[in-house]
Symmetry: C2
Subunit: 571 residues, 2 copies
């Protein structure tokens, strides 16, 4: 059996270790300055690839990352495994139910934020192909379709991260953004698969039609029967195999099988892995903790290596063509922002929120880079366009966080402590379930604000059922807009045993803060919730609060902790 | 850059998926019948390899696992990455401090359980080489040293699992077993590295001496300066990088670097990864949760694929040579059991416990298989001896669990409920820390048994400091032998907020059971502790207990749950 020699093995471990550590250090540095990790990870490839290391020390570069032979093959195999797993995790984050739950607004925003950039992209690529880097030997239709698709995609991971940082993830606004991005990505990937099928089909005897039909058949099958089957099998796996290892292994194996199938069809392995993620993702049996584990491993060990290897293939300095970058970046932003803005306005969002939706969906991040990588690999685009595409992906992602933050920041004069009503603290909560906890807190706040407890509890519970309010770090923030409430009112309950509020990290809520605001004061609700989440994200602070017997002592904690809190977004 | 073609990628994903799923199914089946997972995983290789699939359907076998070309190379690269990570996790489990903490008993058991099998193995291999499969073209000294080393090694993972199943892990007996196995494995790997260095050195100009010196230098460096550095850097990584992804990635990258280094020295990559694990393993900053995550991923996704691929290389039916298997199996058992038994007796263990130590250390499991795999790869042994070695590894592991269980099972007439003293229940515990909780429970039990509370608390605390009593599933079982106590006495305290008892899974203890026994009644303590751990391992049962206000209601839970409890060892 062919196997690696000792020297090749040594090089393999050395190159993998180098890719991982440089990518992680630069990725961590990106996070520090409030940017997505993928920015630093891509930069690691630029540093280790032909752009810098290959120019400064070509001998070391060739030794470490040989372009031919066993090591190149193994690295190619490994990165394909890594990227398939990364797309599996990305697929897991796609919750199809949220798309349907949000209804009209999502359809408007989602559809227009695809149609606009797609139309503009296709138009420009079709009429002025050379301006955006078309290489004559390629097929113009495929090229134009690809450019249009690449411009239509959004970056769900970066959008999610931004919304979480701002504590907007579980608001109506957040749900619209997420659902629209899911729609964008899903349609984007289907379009891209169709393009790959066309390229592939043209080469083989089966023809384009067969490949496209098989692709569509597989996608529909996975999202209907596949999804149904996964939802049936998961509980069985959880019950009868070693947890969570058994479940993880089954999921990875399934992703590998579907990757093999889609690669065989001709639309690349990652498409299969992605659809497995989508099919499994919204199962109530696949809990947040398992998902979190898989995500930690793949996002911090596999994805960095993959993104860094992208830089090993391309010289970013040589292929940087300023006019191309400017043109591509501009049409990317114009198409997406115009489409999303129009959709948001039409669905009745406020002015600032509409702009925030537009800039949020404009972030392309890792998804566009992966698309570009596959397009380059399949000869669909040249290296110059690839570089322009990577820079666009990065630039739009870097803009996303600060702009959304600036657009949605609100009046900071209202202090958290002043909103906690005179009787608005209880420790311990008697209730063991979500509904009970909400009713208990509603009763506390009722007399202080002069509104009937049942009215409050019902409003909050109605909203809670739509969207659970557990965040992370054992905190839940149930909320509602209440007619006739003059100013925000908060009641806090501590529960040592914890109440299940369906939080992200699966941990029961030990701090439940009921946040009531006057109608249309969503911004206040978000800010107050954000402050609570920031203050109590540390275990020690929550532990102190669990031992606070009265409102006075709880307020004392707020005050001392508030003085030393980290700036928002540093987490 | 060389890369895999579409077809090769498709085959890669298909073969990986097949290896993973078959290995996991058979591994899970092994766990079900109370055997180590590695048994089923090896069997998967036999099924998918030349032994069965290659014989029944050679066409499919060649297609799926080609012996030559890009796919073979990628699989070879991948399995080397997997096995390095597996050894990293194995190294993490090696707690050097326990070896020193146990003192004389461990040194006696550890030393004799290496010296005996080593001497017998070397003697037989040197004097009767052909009887145990020596192939004339090889070097006899290297061969004899390898056989001796392979017989001296133990399987820490299988021993740990057996001890955990029997709730013996955190007893004096368990600590002796674990520490002796750590000593066996560490010395075994060092010996094996020296053998590899000899083979490697003989081929190159540097010579044997240089390679051996570098190996020893690296090992000593990692275990002193390397360990010291890791302990300094870990807290920094935990504080300033994304948790736990940042820490995991740094650890994996370090393992890759050391793997590259040792592979370059000539003693195989896994040795470097293993030593990184040992250096980091006993750091108090590397918490159980991170370790557990890494372990889940590697043990359930990477290790199964690795062990299955072993079977792809060897035809187990063709190379099965009964006399060789019998001889090898016999000398393996005789040497190890005699040595360990003598050591245990000399260090003053009881008769049954000495036999249990001997059968425990006799399990070879995955460690011997990996040794054999590397020896086969380096041409040190032939396929027939490899098969005998795998069968010995499996056979001794299969024996381990049932024999240790049978030897240590005790009188079952004493009921758990009857041991809980008249005032032996409190809910909630007032204490927030280990010491306080022990004092609180000691005070409860004191009047019921007529022994001063401070005497009880001190004995328990002395033992607790040596070995924390947190097990898993939020349960802690502090214990001590108390002079003058007529029969076992238990006091249970429930703590909704949890008390940190340094448990395996890092979760705070919500159920703290103080188990007091007359001196020399360790067996009763183990059994009672085991029953509590079994009964309350389910979240729901603990939750019910957290709501039990009095001893009576707690006893009621014991009774109902006892009636429906699972048989011991099914977990």
């Amino acid at each position: 059996m062919d196997q690696l020699s000792n020297e090749q093995l040594s090089i393999m471990f050395l190159s993998l270790g180098t890719l991982l550590i440089v990518a992680r250090i630069l990725g961590e540095a990106s996070l520090w300055i409030g940017q997505p990790a993928v920015l630093g990870e891509m930069l690691a490839g630029v540093v280790l690839g032909p752009t810098i290391l290959g120019t400064v020390a070509p001998g070391i570069f060739d030794e470490l990352f040989p372009a031919k032979g066993a090591n190149a093959l193994v690295l190619s195999g490994l990165t394909n495994v890594y990227i398939a797993l990364f797309l599996l995790v990305t697929g897991l984050e796609m919750d199809l139910k949220t798309v349907f739950a949000q209804g009209r607004a999502v359809l408007l925003v989602g559809a227009l934020s695809i149609i606009f950039p797609f139309a503009i992209g296709f138009g420009v690529a079709w009429t002025l192909p050379t301006m955006i880097g078309f290489e004559p030997k390629a097929n113009l239709l495929n090229f134009a379709l690809f450019v249009a698709t690449a411009l239509s995609i959004s970056s769900l991971p970066i959008l999610s991260k931004t919304l979480m940082d701002l504590n907007l993830y579980r608001t109506n606004f957040g749900a619209i953004c997420i659902a629209a991005a899911v729609l964008n990505d899903l349609i984007g990937w289907l379009l891209f698969a169709a393009i790959l099928a066309m390229i592939q089909g043209q080469g083989t005897g089966g023809g384009v039609a067969t490949t496209i039909l098989m692709t569509i058949g597989f996608a529909l099958g996975m999202l209907t029967i596949g999804r149904w089957l996964c939802h049936r099998i998961l509980p069985w796996l959880q019950a009868y195999t070693h947890w969570p290892g058994g479940l993880l292994a089954a999921l990875v194996a399934l992703a590998f099988f579907c990757a093999a199938l889609t690669e065989w069809i001709g639309v690349h392995a990652i498409f299969g892995a992605f659809l497995v993620g989508v099919a499994v993702g919204d199962s109530p049996h696949f809990n947040r903790r398992t998902r979190w584990m898989l995500d930690q491993f793949i996002s911090f060990i596999f994805a960095p290596v993959f993104f860094a290897t992208i830089g090993l293939r391309v010289n970013f300095a040589e292929n940087f063509h300023l006019p191309l970058v400017v043109v591509f970046f501009t049409i990317a932003c114009v198409g997406k922002i115009a489409g999303a803005l129009l959709g948001a306005k039409l669905s009745g969002l406020e002015n600032r929120e509409s702009w925030a939706v537009a800039f949020g969906l404009n972030s392309r991040g890792s998804m566009e880079i992966i698309l570009g990588f596959l397009a380059l690999r399949n000869g669909l685009i040249g290296e110059q366009l690839f570089v322009a595409l990577v820079i666009t992906a990065m630039g739009t992602s870097i803009m996303c966080g600060p702009l959304v933050k600036a657009l949605l920041s609100t009046d900071k004069s209202l202090s958290l402590a002043s909103c906690i009503t005179a009787h608005g603290f209880v420790n311990p909560l008697e209730a063991n379930d979500r509904k009970g906890a909400i009713e208990e807190l509603a009763a506390l706040v009722s007399a202080d604000v002069g509104i009937e407890a049942s009215v409050i509890a019902e409003s909050v519970w109605r909203r809670e059922r739509q969207m659970a309010s557990g965040t992370q770090n054992c905190i839940a923030l149930p909320t509602a807009g209440i007619e006739g409430l003059p100013s925000p009112a908060i009641a806090v309950g501590m529960s040592p045993t914890g109440v299940d509020f369906q939080s992200f990290d699966g941990r029961p809520a030990q701090l439940v803060a009921l946040i009531l605001v006057p109608p249309k004061h969503e911004a206040d609700q978000r800010r107050l919730g954000g402050e609570i989440a920031q203050l109590f994200k540390q275990w020690k602070v929550r532990q102190t609060a669990l031992h606070a017997p009265t409102r006075t002592e709880f307020l004392a904690i707020l005050k001392t902790e508030d003085a030393m809190k980290e700036p928002l977004g540093a987490a």
